[in-house]
Symmetry: C2
Amino acid sequence: MSFIEIQTPVITGADAACCAPASRDAIGAEAAEALARSLKALADPARLRLVSMVAAHPDAEACVCDLTEPLGLSQPTVSHHLKVLVEAGLLTRDKRGTWAYYRLVPGALDSLAALLAAV
Amino acid sequence: MSFIEIQTPVITGADAACCAPASRDAIGAEAAEALARSLKALADPARLRLVSMVAAHPDAEACVCDLTEPLGLSQPTVSHHLKVLVEAGLLTRDKRGTWAYYRLVPGALDSLAALLAAV
DNA sequence: CGAATGCATCGATGGATGTCAATTTATGGG
DNA sequence: CCCATAAATTGACATCCATCGATGCATTCG
């Protein structure tokens, strides 16, 4: 939904604002911190690729060994990024045997995108 | 001289597949870097609030002096954050007289959100 | 002109962050 | 049991980043 911001002429009076500009409220401080925390988790090329690679994998799940080589980073680094994504609520971790399988949290990306568009 | 560098994030390949089973392609490395660069610009509480405050302002524009006090940060810090947002293509800067007015770039947030949801 | 105001830039600083090598912890197999 | 494999944790390091005070640069006004 794209809003069209209408540029109203100069109305400097404070009490004249009843109709057109409709200045909504800005985001709150703690809401901004929460959203920033989620965005920080994704504001990294490696983590964006990890999310995308997990989503692109068959069955939409992948273990660390599937991700390390195509990503071109060391195993500890990949584990670190995956942990960040899990703590951000974007991935889930499921350890089966020796392997740890990661999956997308359904709807997590979409609700984040919705929050972002509503800022 | 108010030139605005609009950093259009890389929109990756057409992906018309609609349904679940087929594993789509993961995002490319350079697309991930471009998207991460845009997200980094917003992955900060102060910058999220700045964007929101500009959008919420009457006429959807605001100068630095309007933003410094409600944000609770020093003027140099606010100027720094605004510069980051302008360089990310999210805000425009328009200097009129002594004041510098910032506005949202229409649709910038929405296309970023769309790219994010498509990762 | 000179003072004042709004904003950008500079330099410094403390803290966060991405990365890797080395190590540790779990799990499974012979 | 002991070894092999997968993954997480640790420690270290370099870099980035948010923030501020001080300063510089325009612009406006007296």
